[in-house]
């Protein structure tokens, strides 16, 4: 009888969960066609490990151990559920289950299984939030409770969402497969947007919820790595590399986005010395690899690669002033051609202002205002006010910041804009605007 220290067992189980969950679940789904059964059996296997490993020791090949336990559990469940009517079909499934290889490595079908799983979880016929939840549950192996906490909803709500998603896969006949060539490009783009949404849900959180939602950031990056490995040698890999590079660039400056008081710190004012150099270096390498692949395939760059290239311009500059804004503006123009959007045009206007002067940027912003497609978007008046302030047109800038503060979606942004308001306030108004949040004045 061996007794393993509890922490070692926990670490081993966490590692095995990250490495093996998707593989075992994917294989069981392929053989049984039953998502709930597959997920339950994998979860049971980890529960068994939690009891078994501290007493009998951590198995040498934990993947094979878990596969065997999950497989036997599936066989037991299917045997006891077998009814007269379905006996023949279930018998065929049982035979396939019993013939499954035990461990990773020997089976080339394994990678296909995991890809199948990801494509199915991200099928466009499922609601977007269900795609994210199902991917976290089935591919990443998070528990329903963990996903519920990360999305700030109750476990019952999340459980219902997952049950519905699995039911739709079965009832609507969503295929369990890697899509055929005519669909692969669009469906892979769908997976990438699910991963980026997952990342942003976690990344955009500030304050207390940032810690709670951090698993979303970590899982999104881990899944992007898995996808890159699985898409090896396919044209779809380029954008996956771009997405991971983009995530790493964002993540590298995560700690510097807010100050000790929880207030927003803009990119120009962030402490670049505190950016995570290892992440930046990895992101640059990924981006270079993606560009190389794009060149060798003579394909046009995709939107994640371009967004990562924009982030790179900011991240490699030793200080905000030495950023290559002409390149940033050109990249935004390219991005606008791939996916036209007024928000991209606004970002281009800001980059143009930085490289050619505030007037040039202001002209582009005026055009956006006339088009009215960004009405109600607080960053439009905020960006305009920044340029007016730089031109010394304080009164107009002040008006713009006030408008932006009215439209700002969160308290963190309102506090930031209040500071700008105070800086541009005419002398007679200083009292009201330097002491924000004193009541009625603030609401005006």
């Amino acid at each position: 009888m061996v007794t393993e220290p509890a922490t070692e067992v926990q670490t081993a189980i966490a590692l095995a969960s990250a490495a093996e969950t998707a593989r075992i679940t994917a294989t069981l789904i392929r053989v049984t066609g039953d998502w709930s059964l597959a997920e339950d059996c994998v979860q049971d296997a980890f529960a068994r490990a939690l009891v078994d490993w501290p007493v009998r020791g951590i198995p040498k090949n934990s993947g094979a151990w878990l596969t065997t336990v999950a497989k036997n559990r599936a066989i037991d469940r299917m045997r006891s559920a077998a009814s007269e009517k379905r006996a023949v079909r279930e018998l065929a499934t049982l035979t396939k289950l019993e013939g499954l290889p035990e461990g990773p490595g020997a089976n080339p079908a394994v990678d296909d299984d995991r890809l199948r799983l990801i494509y199915t979880c991200c099928h466009p016929a499922l609601p977007l939030e269900a795609r994210v939840a199902l991917t976290l549950r089935t591919v990443a192996g998070l528990t329903t409770g963990e996903i519920a906490r990360a999305f700030l909803v109750s476990e019952a709500t999340m459980s219902k969402r997952l049950v519905r998603a699995r039911a739709k896969i079965r009832n609507a006949g969503i295929p369990y497969r890697v899509p055929p060539p005519e669909l692969i490009s669009e469906r892979t783009a769908g997976i990438l947007s699910v991963l980026y949404l997952m990342f942003n849900e976690g990344y955009s959180a500030t304050g207390d919820s940032a810690l709670i939602r951090e698993p979303l950031v970590q899982e999104a990056m881990r899944l992007a790595r898995l996808l890159i490995a699985l898409l090896d040698d396919s044209p779809q890999q380029t954008e996956a590399l771009g997405l991971l590079a983009l995530m790493l660039f964002h993540h590298a400056r995560r700690e510097t986005r807010t100050d000790a008081a929880g207030d927003l710190v803009t990119l120009e004012e962030q402490d670049r010395g505190s950016w995570d150099e290892a992440s930046i270096a990895e992101a640059n390498a990924l981006l270079a690899a993606a560009e190389q692949l794009g060149i060798s395939r003579r394909s046009r760059p995709g939107s994640y690669c371009v967004q990562a290239a924009i982030a790179a311009c900011h991240m490699v500059a030793p200080d905000a002033g030495s950023t290559d804004f002409a390149k940033v503006a050109a990249l935004y123009e390219l991005l606008g051609q791939i996916a036209p959007s007024p928000v991209i045009e606004l970002n281009r206007a800001v980059a143009v202002a930085m490289s050619q002067g505030p007037e040039a940027g202001l002209a582009l912003i005026d055009r956006l205002e006339r088009e009215r497609s960004l009405d109600g978007y607080y960053l439009l008046p905020a960006a305009k006010a920044d340029l007016l302030r730089r031109l010394g047109r304080k009164t107009e800038a002040h008006r713009g910041y006030r408008r932006a503060r009215e439209l700002a979606p969160s308290e963190v942004e309102r506090r930031y804009l209040s500071k700008r308001l105070a800086e541009t306030a005419p002398a007679s108004q200083t009292d009201q605007t330097t002491s924000p949040r004193t009541g009625a004045e603030e609401k005006k």
Partner: protein, 111 residues
Amino acid sequence: MEYMLFICTDPSAPKYVAAEDNIVEWGAEMDSRGVTRHGNRLRPVEDATTVTVREGEVVVSDGPFAETKEWIAGYDIIDCTDLDEAIEVASKHPMARFGKIEIRPVWPLGE
């Protein structure tokens, strides 16, 4: 798997252009692929009749339940491998461009 396609009108869709209506070609392709089971247009909602039985009494009334801007203009029952094929079949139907198509899996009794 069997699916029913509800061919719906959509006021926000581009205007109908007769020259771009490929319904005949669509029908021919689906027939040759063995996809179509049955399908047709439906008369407008003005020709609809509603029947209810309450406490044993049959009540017949004129027209649809509610005034809506979107209504079902036709239907097709198709037999496909999976949802992806049903999506492909629906996307080739002219009303996917001039209206919209809802795909509903058939739910056989006893399942």
